[in-house]
Amino acid sequence: MNTLPLTLLAQEAAAADPGFWGGPGMQAFGLWVAVGFTLAIYTFLYRDNPVFKFAEHVFVGVSNGYLLCYTWFTVVKPMLVVPLWHAIRPPADKPLEANETLWLLVPAFLSLCMLMRFVPKAAWMSRWAFAFMVGTTSGVLIPLTVQAQIYKQLFPMLGGFVSRGGDTDAVLWVASLKSLLILIGVFAVLTYFLFSVEHKGPVRVFARTGIVFLMIAFGASFGYTVMARESLLIGRVKFLITQAGSEGKYRTFAMMAVVVALVAALEMLRVRATPPPAAEPAPPEAK
């Protein structure tokens, strides 16, 4: 769990009222909260429990509330509401520029159409906005996608896989081997997905090679995913360690005791409240 939204909120509150919010007391309180919530999230490793649920709900609520306010104040208000307001009531110093912002009525109308999804009777209006988005995005992106993701990707393969370089224009064996491998990989994977031909004989061998390439790609992707998750874990543990020593006022140990005690108490209550399993009915006697 990343507590940066909480930190950013605290910083903004500090900027608004440095006397109270920016004081060392509030900053220390922020760190206590961050340590406590990090540990509360990790209690999920034991099992789903009320302490985890509380931390999860607070995090989701704060993150969404923060993002909503920030989007309003940095995107919707300055990019749509204020220019439209200036178009209706032009400021004295820029009357001409204000009139040019009237075209913003179009995206404003389409945005309102999209929000009509929440009104069942007028939900059909959202289709206009979606149709506009799908149409313009396709128009803009299809040619660019063909150029960037098909043509430019095919070009190196079609241009021959023998790479040359250096002063003598000698063959670069490693680079050439790599290109050859990519070429074989592309054809083998495409053959694997070729369903109009029965996979037997040489086609089967080539399709099987395709599976090998796919498995290597999935393995590399999964390995990278594990590495990414490890990095996040390391980041959090590093934060907890910095708060565990005397410089961090032993916050980690103190909050760990509080969180463990809370989870244990709630778990005991859960076990007590759970009715004992009903006794199995005796098997019917054989006649």
Binding site: N2, L4, P5, L8, Q11, L45, R47, Y66, L67, Y70, T71, T74, V75, V140, L141, L144, T145, Q147, A148, Q149, K152, Q153, F155, P156, K178, I182, A217, A220, S221, Y224, T225, V226, M227, A228, E230, S231, L232, L233, I234, G235, R236, V237, K238, I241
Partner: protein
């Protein structure tokens, strides 16, 4: 012992082993120097080629969820740019809360490198809309970004001197935890021929390898390992280098756990079939 508890013990053992594998190297400390791969070197070499005083665009497209992975990368790139005395312009296409995070990271790095706002770097506003703002920036910068993050006209910022459109940047780096590199490749590189490099979370790295062999992207810094390699290139061991020993220990632990799991699985299977 209840059967539920019996079931949980192997899980807890794995969690405990991983917790120790993460905590012990972090407590012991130290850092590792990683030799840079040609893929990471691709970004470094392009920045090295830029003449002193050139502008460089950094698209900071990540939010707090990926900070642990991308902050070291961002720090290393900024350090490199300011060491080369480049004018850094930071913007974001990711989400509204990516710019406050970028502001915090850039300001912290700027204080360390004595970079001055307006002269050595400038922060722009978050732009929603994916490829649309890139296409517009390619025609006119001031059409959608007439003012910076602090509402100062960009014309008043020395860091933005000579920038009228996207292609006035000789190079850009997209540091992302979402799909914004796709937008930059499609709209920035394919449409306007903008030279670019990228840094991303490890999860995303494999998706962008094909763009390197076609030279659409000059280089890629992937995850914490990529950041550690970049730190080694700029000779400034930082957050990534200090976290990499832990990452290596966890890797080895995971491999051993996978091997142990497989051996146990086959042994149990053999026992089951024998019975």
């Amino acid at each position: 012992m209840s059967p539920e508890l019996k079931k949980m013990i192997p899980r807890w053992t794995v969690f405990g082993i991983i917790a120790l594998a993460v905590t012990i190297p972090l407590v012991v400390g130290g850092s590792t120097r990683f030799p840079a791969t040609p893929i990471v070197r691709g970004v470094y070499e392009e920045i090295e080629k830029l003449p002193e005083g050139s502008p460089i665009l950094i698209s900071s497209d990540f939010d707090p969820g990926s900070e642990a992975e991308l902050e070291p990368m961002m720090n290393a790139i900024l350090a490199h740019c300011w060491r080369r005395k480049l004018r850094v312009v930071v913007m974001s296409l990711c989400s509204a809360n990516s710019m406050p995070l970028a502001e915090e990271l850039v300001k912290k790095a700027a204080a360390e490198h004595k970079a001055e706002y307006g002269r050595d770097y400038a922060l722009m506003k978050f732009l929603p809309g994916g490829t649309a703002p890139i296409l517009t920036l390619g025609q006119s910068w001031s059409a959608i970004l007439p003012k910076d993050y602090y509402e100062t006209p960009v014309a008043d910022l020395p860091a933005m001197k000579g920038i009228t459109k996207l292609t006035d940047f000789p190079y850009m780096v997209c540091v992302a935890s979402v799909a914004t590199p796709d937008y930059w490749i499609l709209a920035g590189n394919a449409k306007y021929g903008l030279k670019m490099g990228m840094g991303c979370t490890a999860v995303m790295a494999t998706d962008y390898y094909p763009y390197i062999s076609t030279k659409q992207v000059s280089g890629l810094i992937g995850g914490l390992a990529g950041a550690a390699q970049y730190e080694a290139l700029v000779e400034r061991p930082g957050l990534a280098s200090s976290k990499m020993p832990t990452q290596s220990v966890v890797h080895v632990t995971l491999v051993l756990l996978i091997l142990a799991g497989n051996i146990l699985h086959f042994l149990t299977k053999k026992k089951g079939s024998a019975a």
